[in-house]
């Protein structure tokens, strides 16, 4: 096969991929060394620079219409390692840069460094791990070697877990420990599969693997172990047990990062594995199993979200449900002789769902943080009148909810519509029914928040300290992006087609 080998020659502008990873890494090292107030300053400096890199990567992809590739140490795989950005990677890089930047601005009030020479625990840990998570996600989105991706997952785990227990309460420590155990099991499984792949094919490079892999017992076991590990990390039903206490217990800005970005990393690697390293897997019944787990997540997460008495656990269960839709990509993109246009529609649907959920969920957790601070609690029963006290935040929550429900014109609508259409074209109507049922459940739990917020308070609310307008503006901006993704999809389709394995591997096998 000459085509994949050609596709992975280094390209001009490939050094941008190195910068996308190393800029936040350099930030982390400087933060750790200089400490104190510098931790926050460095984070705020890296944000625009990292965003500029993500924009440059995206622009290069759109301009050339080809993926960016870089060979580290000027050494080609299989001996060396390469980085590669296709359209999906670039979109995820942009999403990460924008959300990290927005949550960084939002978190300045929560994690302000006290003046004076003494360093404070929570701000220092938060600002350092913010950049650490960014670099970890960049490795996950750009790495082209399974072991490099394993290291990326480790960075992600050790960046995410301490954020859960940042406030030091005993229950959040328990949640963090449970998350750590799930994540470490996931890492071990991923590593075991990686070893098996090397033993069978003598390379860990995804492009080379794509040309060499063939479905046999060893490969099946390797993929099964890696997928199981990744599902534990991304919290797909029934491995979701760790997610609600962890995401609901963390401080609001940390919850926003964990729920919008961190869980997307392992999902992205399942896609890399199933579409990239071992194309053809989606034709197998195993893809239906992934879809079925996704369905379980949509229904189970939705029903439990309806039953939560508090706002943050409700939003966390909503994440469990929304992650389920992502796994409909696998059964829908398979099947012999499926036209490239359908595969591409499924690919786009999955990517847009990942991105629009990221923006919507970041907005919701940040908004929930503002409401919690204003009211002093986040009981849903006590939300009456919040719409008057915090109109912008309530409006943002409603907008983000639109995207979660999948109502037009939101990004969530576009994603779910693409998935529903594909399920009808491929005569798998049950997935369409699932998407509609999931939308109803989402409508129910969003209504539980918005309805009391818009009603008049039974008794006058206690004097609510007005949160800084800028913080509300950040929440609104995040929610707006999740909606606008449905209005301007055309550029997205072009970007997502660049280097997409959904249309690259339709060669008959």
């Amino acid at each position: 096969m000459t085509a994949p080998a050609l596709a992975d020659m280094p390209t001009a502008g490939g050094f941008l991929l190195v910068l996308a990873i190393m800029l936040p890494i350099a930030g982390v090292l400087l933060q750790f060394m200089l400490g104190g107030r510098q931790a926050e300053r460095i984070a705020l400096l890296v944000m625009p620079a990292g965003l500029a890199v993500a924009v440059a990567v995206t622009a290069a992809l759109v301009r050339s219409g080809r993926p960016l590739v870089y060979h580290l140490g000027s050494l080609a795989p299989p001996l060396g390692l390469s980085l590669r950005a296709d359209g999906f990677s670039a979109l995820m890089l942009m999403t990460t840069a924008l959300i990290v930047g927005a949550i960084g601005l939002f978190a300045r009030a929560d994690f302000a460094t006290p003046t004076g020479p003494v360093e404070a625990r929570q701000p220092f840990v938060f600002w350092t791990l913010l950049l650490a998570l960014w670099s970890a996600l960049a490795v996950v989105f750009l790495g082209q070697d399974l072991f490099t991706l394993y290291v990326g997952l480790e960075l992600l785990t050790f960046g995410a877990v301490p954020l859960v227990s940042l406030d030091g309460r005993a229950e959040t420590l328990t949640a963090a420990l449970r998350y750590l155990l799930f994540a470490l099991f996931g890492s071990a499984f991923f590593l075991a599969g990686t070893v098996l792949f090397y033993g069978e094919y003598g390379t860990l490079d995804i492009a080379l693997l794509a040309a060499r892999t063939h479905p046999d017992t060893t490969s099946a076991i390797a993929v099964a172990m890696m997928t199981a590990g990744l599902l534990a990390k991304t919290a797909l039903f029934p491995f979701h047990l760790w997610l609600p206490p962890a995401h609901a217990g963390a401080p609001a800005p940390a919850s926003a990062l964990l729920s919008s970005l961190v869980v997307k990393g392992p999902f992205f690697l399942v896609v890399r594995l199933w579409f990239g390293a071992m194309p053809g897997l989606t034709d197998l019944p195993a893809a239906q199993l992934l879809g079925a787990l996704g369905a379980g997540a949509v229904l189970f997460g939705g029903v439990l979200a309806l039953r939560q008495p508090r706002l943050k656990p409700l939003i966390a269960y909503s994440t469990v449900a929304q992650l389920g839709y992502l796994f409909l990509m696998f059964p829908l993109a398979g099947g012999e002789g499926l036209p490239a246009s359908v595969r591409m529609a499924v690919w786009t649907g999955g990517a847009v769902q990942a991105v629009s959920h990221a923006f919507a969920k970041a907005a919701m957790f940040a908004g929930a943080g503002l409401i919690g601070q204003a009211l002093g609690h986040d009981r849903i029963g006590g939300l009456r009148g919040v719409g008057r006290a915090l109109p912008v935040t309530t409006f943002a929550l409603a907008l983000a909810g639109l995207s979660l429900m999948g109502l037009p014109p939101s990004g969530g609508f576009l994603a779910k519509w693409l998935l529903v259409r594909a399920s009808i074209v491929t005569a798998q109507w049950w997935w369409a029914a699932l998407v509609l049922a999931g939308g109803l459940l989402a409508g129910g739990y969003i209504f539980r928040i918005i309805a009391p917020a818009l009603s008049a308070p039974e008794q006058p609310l206690p004097a609510i300290p007005a949160p800084a307008r800028r913080r509300e503006a950040v929440v609104l901006a995040l929610a707006l992006v999740s909606v606008l993704l449905g209005v301007v999809p055309f550029g997205l389709t072009t970007l997502l087609a660049v280097g997409s394995p959904a249309i690259a591997h339709i060669v008959p096998r």
Binding site: H71, P78, G152, F158
Partner: protein
């Protein structure tokens, strides 16, 4: 039947027995001790399958450092020693899952091609360009340098995560409790006698790593162990975690690695590329600093989160 085969058989039995002992131990302390033994048997097995670099790492990290951490944790959790036994359903599920997890890779390994495809020849062929003699060091610091760099950042994050468990008011303080110095204790004698020898061995392992089995991680672990011995004997104290020089020591290794990598853009035409003829000296410098950082990080990880007031 050759002696080698008999030895292999014996090691496998030992490994299984040590594994069984670890799982079946009555309390967490016993399990930790058994785990150390298990790690040592594994190290011997690595030697038998001609992977001395892995054997050194297994002995130093898998057995030594992890064992030390587990023992320290189990003495801390004095009250939880007699851990509550899980219910019979949970236990059966755990056994079934463990059996599955053990059986699946075993089945997969049986299906591997023989001889397996390998990059070993390619790794040896490219070695002259690095000036190194040990292909493992070539993989770690040249071919897959970025993995090594990122792994060191993972270590720093692990340290930060450990520190983050401290109460707010102790942030920046001294880790652990102050050990009392007791001149009559055998630990004091060990703490005085062993470190000079251990430091020489650690530096030797670092130095020969370029051409023989060894390297930054193994060397750094031995240095950390010597430091820990001196701390446990009460001869020295762990510095406060807010100390600027300590923070610098922790990031110096990955920091220098990153600088050398970025300099590669200018002097060698690519990130983490080394200019022809300068690869070995650059790698050695990076390894020396990495060793010091690894030693500092591991020592601090063993010492745990700050438990004493920061210096004013």
């Amino acid at each position: 039947m050759t002696i080698g085969l008999l030895l292999d058989f014996f090691l496998v039995i030992l490994a299984l027995a040590a594994g069984w002992w670890t799982i079946g131990a009555k309390d967490s302390f016993g399990a930790a001790v058994a785990f150390v033994a298990y790690g040592l048997v594994l190290a011997l097995i690595w030697v038998r399958i001609a992977a001395p670099d892995v054997a050194l790492t297994e002995a130093a990290i898998g057995s030594g450092l992890t064992g030390g951490m587990l023992i320290a944790a189990s003495t801390r959790l004095e009250s939880a020693r007699q851990a509550t036994r899980a219910g019979s359903v949970t236990r059966r599920l755990a056994i079934a899952l463990s059996a599955l997890v053990a059986a699946a890779p075993a089945l997969a390994v049986l299906g591997l091609p023989d001889p397996p495809p390998s990059l070993a020849t390619a790794a040896m062929a490219a070695l002259p360009s690095t000036g190194l003699g040990n292909p493992v060091t070539g993989v770690l610091l040249a071919y897959r340098a970025v993995d090594t760099l990122l792994e060191k950042v993972v270590l720093i994050l692990a340290l930060l995560g450990t520190w983050s468990l401290a109460p707010d008011r102790l942030w920046g303080g001294l880790p652990g409790r102050k050990e009392r110095r007791n001149a009559a204790s055998p630990l004091t004698l060990l703490g005085q006698v062993l470190p000079p020898i251990g430091i020489v061995i650690g530096l030797h392992i670092l130095w020969v790593g370029a051409d023989e089995p060894g390297g930054a991680f193994q060397g750094g672990t031995i240095l950390a162990a010597m430091g820990m011995l001196a701390v446990m004997a009460g001869l020295v104290d762990v510095p406060a975690t807010s100390r600027r020089w300590l923070r610098l020591l922790v990031v110096a290794g990955p920091g220098l690695f990153l600088i050398v990598g970025l300099a590669g853009f200018v002097i060698a035409g690519g990130f983490l590329a080394y200019p022809a003829g300068f690869a070995k000296p650059l790698i050695l410098v990076v390894e020396v600093v990495l060793t010091l950082s690894v030693a500092a990080i591991l020592l601090l990880l063993l010492a745990g989160p700050p438990e004493r007031e920061p210096p004013r």
